[in-house]
Symmetry: C2
Subunit: 739 residues, 2 copies
């Protein structure tokens, strides 16, 4: 067991990411070559080992191979925030190296998007002011710099990107995590109105942009977010640099937009090119109208410790030595003190750069398999994103070295190093908008390459159901390879795949590809034990402490976790690009739809009287799912008699496989979210990070609780069931014989 | 010269549509077989004659061939309004015959859509009432029945489908054609406000639904539309049955919806299936909120003759012996009289049936070429739609007989007999919604088969630019064939194709396929000389006088015009379905885009100061068009070296050709018109019949005139130019090498 709290004991100083990076090249290349298509009897196994070798040999042990190919350490040396010169330099370097690796073409693709930076001459901070307006306490202006980086300039202090400017002053109200249910509890059970107040919430559970939206809707005039040790400390772990917990002076940067997939706030729906019309800042999508600021827990203690008002329920209490009183405002002793936010962050249209590399497909150049991950980082990006960017880089290197050996994939592979992910998935979304027509006709799959590690416990895959089988098979092989290296994998052969592999939510660059365009998508990373470790994301997330060293010393001293992630991501790409028959499993989609339909119907069944009263039935959806399942089975049966030597017959079937995911796209979008168009999967309206199935129905049911007009709310549930049923029927049609 | 006024002299009693129908089978079949693909040196000629024969022999002269295959006369014997039993019977009969012809599959596809019928027990009419409320004049309840049809039941009287119910009473205001500019002139130059008035407008110039919308926006509480002889009489022509002019007792039926492509008003965006959620009538799309009624000119004289108020400008005067005063209300002598509309028309959800027949493609079953036209008629449908439905039916027969001889097209051909076109293109739009995913991935082209004749002067083609060359080549061959039969064709070799062939507007079933889904589309029919004949559509349009006899006796006694139309429509279908390389011309699209960009920029140049003030430039659009033209030229150059024997290479290129039209689709739709998604072509917002190029820019420029906030209006112009430029760039990308 090498779960989180113990793994750092196994740290090995001699092993470096750069070394791992060196031999992953050879390993992944051999690993990928080892795959061939096998016709499996039960459709669940598309992969076999190399026939000649009988089984795959793990070359991973040959760690003493020396290759002069280790550039990745340097991508975490300097801060490379989106829109900065340094991030452009890294882009140029990646371009240069990808060309050297042997990719057919590599280019920088610029967009001019709205970014947001603190004002260098007017720092952001929060004060406690006395009745004369004197600042009796100010929050810190920066995080303590980690050792070895003292001379680095251009470290952006913690801030909430796209915060409104302003200096609101008032009483604090503490609203737990700032979730929809927290605000309901505050308003309905505690009877506290936050209109004109400044809310303070702890980070965690949901996407910070949702917290800000909830605060705005509740009428707050500012919102402060802090990292509570309850959510950002693992037990028995020291704060960095002695361990991987968040120091008290650390804080979480992050954007606080509510884009719902729009990309650049000023050019929703269209790429942010030079000639593109831009909305004014007033008209921009998802920009908060109130000031927002993040703080660490050392500062939070000062704001919280004198708060008055009622004692909160236990599940509102964090781990600080304060009482977590709700407010509004301070106790009697301090009631003349007010809190003032001082926020001077500027929005500005700034040029960003994606790096796009291509390997032309030998037989089907117009079929695209995409591996994309971001390059921009809040500071050094030791974990987010460079642990993933390294995997992307080395997969490109692997592919290049295979090309030099004479290999060329059947389909085109596109490698993408996205910019400005941290500012709302901007680089990936603008490129998706720019290339939407090509992608919707030609893209087979999108695999995401954000952070490769966010924990030490196990490999975890989130993907669309049609990728379940491929992901499972690849992961199983990685697991076999990894057996001797003590990697823990979540593979349990006897469980249903859909219970091992999670749904995609949002919060990374696959969003536009999957949720807007309907391209089969997946992600893989090493993660914590979600049952045992309740902290959110990972403790140093988006802080200055995300260094190369935290990975090397704590998260993956052997670099075997990163290698496993690279093998899974790379394996997906190579199999999707080179298999004659696309390794997409329609029966898995059918199984998952059945599960999702059952699950959403159960949510509705909590209101049996109203279901009866408004004649709400899920029969049409269940019937559609049955129809889909039958179509999937028939399709699979026909696959068995396919003449794969007939290029047109094969193409027809592969097109059916490719376009299955596309069939779930509704150009009208989900209600109020025109860029979330996938009727089966979308982020929750209440937490962007969470993927919901049948999101239209889910949201409509959620609104039942709050609607002043239940008749209307239930009509919307019925409408959403009808849309879902139709979309499932329509998708089933795409699997029937084309004429 | 057999132009309209003389052609009926050439009537030949012995020649019947049914006879023509018999030999068109053989002719078209041979004609189609005669086409083969030729590689032309300059890309403008995809067609050649059969190599073996050197040139095509016109078998059309062998009129004495006898075949027992003439069912079409009977499709005009009985009224077959959408939603009636008779129209279902015809559907069943068509299904039976298509199966007999040898199509691979034929099915009836039902939808439950909102239709609208007069109340049988409470007829609709308009009264003039005296001050005691007595009806001193009532309009007629029905048209005089033409000879030979006296015993026919179920002739629906003239009405405006989807009119609101109601009995508004008030003063009349005459507003010419009820166009946007007419209402502007009324309000701004004449200072007349129609709030609370009933407006009376003449039919013609624009789609009637636009007149109703304009009246509603102006505040009218009812609208009466009449057929003025100035618009519905040709010179020197007798009214039917002695000629083809509209009798004074005839009136034009028609729907008065403003659907903007939504299809069934209660299920916008989704097919109207049994389980589909339906909006309430209040929420339905495009339903007028005021009563509407159509009358003939005998009745119109009574309403107009005593009108008071100012004398209208000359271009507001029709051809009736009245002064066409504007009102409001009657002259002093009659000023106590009011007009009352009595409208009891009911909306009701009703089952309709499309007939869908398929011929499976031999090599690319997943590529669809569609020939579709409607079957439902207001009464007999002698012209609209059965002159077109006959062409559809005989093309299916031709294809069936070729199949029996062993032929099978490369691609799948779909024949569609649509229902409920007259109620807002409902059958075709619901099927497009139902099959949207299949169509957007697989449809190569849609050819429309509505009325084949609306005049006697010339063949006329409206189509997307990429079909210009094919349409031209086929038409030229038909012209050569037709030379000895004195057909006049609009082919003039030395003119630019785009000046011979018009843009598609709307008003028939191609709409959803072209404007919503972006499928290359075209239509062909025989039409009047539009320069010389100023009457709108054709005089008896949508009246009871659209009989089989009016075609046989006046419009096409030789049935040669119908045959030419069949040859063009059928030729398009067969070439698109069977050519190895798709006969779509990307250079023609480039030329047309250039022309459209020039033309829309000229409209804007009418405001040079404002262009300067608001920094409005068309440079980005011109640059995009240049880019597109270069991409098209390069694409064409690569075609010359294509290995057409390599099935995958051919498929890749054909996919680029097929998806070019799709590239112009913006899922966000045009502003306020979510189902009009084609950025290059859409119906005018002010007249559904007219196709505008760059409709987003066009509408934004139109609004300049009326906006209270010119800054905002010009910002919208700039936004639309930016969108258009992007879409043209994006389309150009689809023509570049795929990797």
């Amino acid at each position: 067991d090498i779960s989180g709290t113990q793994s750092f004991n196994k740290m090995r100083k001699e092993s470096r990411l750069s070394h791992w990076i060196c031999w992953i090249v050879a390993v992944t290349a051999l690993f990928f070559l080892g795959f061939i298509i096998g016709k499996a009897p039960h459709g669940e196994l598309f992969l076999n080992y190399d026939d000649k070798n009988g089984k795959l040999v793990d070359r991973g042990k040959s760690q003493n191979r020396k290759l002069n190919c280790c550039p990745n350490r340097k991508f975490t040396r300097l801060p490379h925030l989106a829109g900065t010169e340094q991030n452009l330099k890294y882009a140029e370097q990646i371009k240069k190296e990808w060309l050297e690796f042997g990719l057919d073409s590599v280019s920088l693709v610029p967009y001019d998007v709205l970014l947001s930076y603190p004002n260098k001459s007017q720092p952001n901070y929060i004060s406690i002011c006395d009745d004369l307006g004197n600042e009796v306490f100010n929050t810190s202006l920066a995080e303590p710099i980690p050792q070895g980086y003292e001379d680095v300039s251009n470290i952006v202090p913690p801030y909430s990107a796209f915060s409104a400017k302003g200096q609101p002053q008032g009483d604090l109200v503490y609203v737990n995590y700032g979730r929809t249910e927290d605000f309901f509890q505050l308003e309905r059970e505690m009877g506290i109105n936050v209109t004109g107040k400044i809310v303070i919430v702890r980070y965690g559970k949901i996407f910070r942009g949702n917290k800000v939206k909830n605060a705005m809707l509740a009428g707050a005039k500012g919102i402060i977010m802090f990292s509570d040790p309850a959510d950002y400390w693992a037990a028995d772990v020291e704060p960095y640099p002695d361990g991987w917990n968040l120091p008290g002076g650390g804080a979480q940067r992050g954007n606080v937009l509510n884009l719902n997939g729009a990309g650049d706030p000023l050019t929703p729906g269209y790429p942010a090119k030079e000639y593109t019309y831009r909305f004014s800042l007033d008209e921009g999508v998802g920009l908060p109208k109130i000031p927002v600021h993040p703080i660490g827990f050392h500062d939070a203690i000062h704001l919280l410790k004198n708060m008055g008002g009622r004692i909160p329920p236990n599940n509102w209490k964090g781990a600080l030595n304060v009482s977590y009183r709700i407010g509004p405002g301070f106790t009697d002793d301090f009631k003349s003190q007010k809190v003032r936010m001082n926020i001077h962050t500027n929005n500005q249209v700034t040029r960003i750069y994606n790096v796009i590399g291509k390997i032309r497909g030998a037989l089907e150049p117009d079929r695209y398999v995409i591996l994309g991950g971001h390059r921009d980082a809040w500071v050094f990006g030791g974990i987010d994103p460079m642990s993933g960017a390294a995997v992307l880089h080395e997969t490109a290197r692997s592919a290049g070295s295979l090309l030099k050996k004479g290999w060329r994939p059947r389909r085109t592979i596109i490698f993408a190093s996205w910019d400005a992910e941290e500012f709302g998935l901007l680089g990936s979304t603008e490129w998706a908008e720019d290339n939407a027509r090509l992608l919707q006709e030609r893209a087979v799959a999108y695999i995401n390459a954000d952070s490769a590690i966010e924990g030490m416990y196990t490999l975890r895959v989130d993907c669309t159901p049609s990728l379940h089988t491929l992901a499972y098979d690849i992961t199983k092989q990685v697991s076999l390879l990894a057996h001797t290296t003590h990697l823990k994998l979540i593979i349990h052969i006897n469980l249903k795949l859909s219970s091992l592999i999670s749904k995609l939510g949002s919060g990374s660059d696959f969003e536009a590809y999957f949720i807007r365009l309907g391209i089969a998508a997946g992600r893989a990373r090493y993660t914590k034990n979600r049952v045992r470790n309740r902290y959110s994301s990972y403790p140093v997330y988006h802080s200055v402490y995300e260094t190369f060293e935290i990975v090397e010393r704590f998260y993956d001293p052997s670099f075997r976790r990163l290698r496993a992630v690279a093998q899974v991501r790379g394996g997906l790409i190579f199999m999707l690009a080179d298999s004659k028959l696309l390794p997409l499993d329609v029966n898995e989609y059918a199984d998952s739809l059945g599960k999702y339909a059952q699950s959403i119907a159960e949510v509705a069944q909590k209101h049996p009287e109203q279901m009866e009263l408004y004649k709400v039935s899920f029969d049409s959806l269940f019937s559609a799912v049955q129809n889909f399942s039958a179509a999937a089975r028939d399709f699979y049966a026909r696959l068995q008699t396919l003449h794969t030597e007939d290029p047109l017959q094969l193409r027809v079937v592969n097109d059916q496989l490719m376009y299955l995911e596309r069939a779930f796209i509704d150009p009208l979008g989900l209600p109020g979210r025109p860029f979330y168009r996938h009727v089966i999967f979308a982020p929750s309206s209440h937490n962007k990070y969470a993927g919901e199935s049948f999101p239209g129905i889910y949201d409509a049911l959620f609104d039942i609780e709050n609607s002043a007009d239940p008749e209307k709310a239930w009509q919307e549930v019925k409408r959403q069931i009808s849309i879902a049923a139709f979309m499932v029927h329509a998708a089933a049609m795409t699997l029937t014989p084309p004429a």
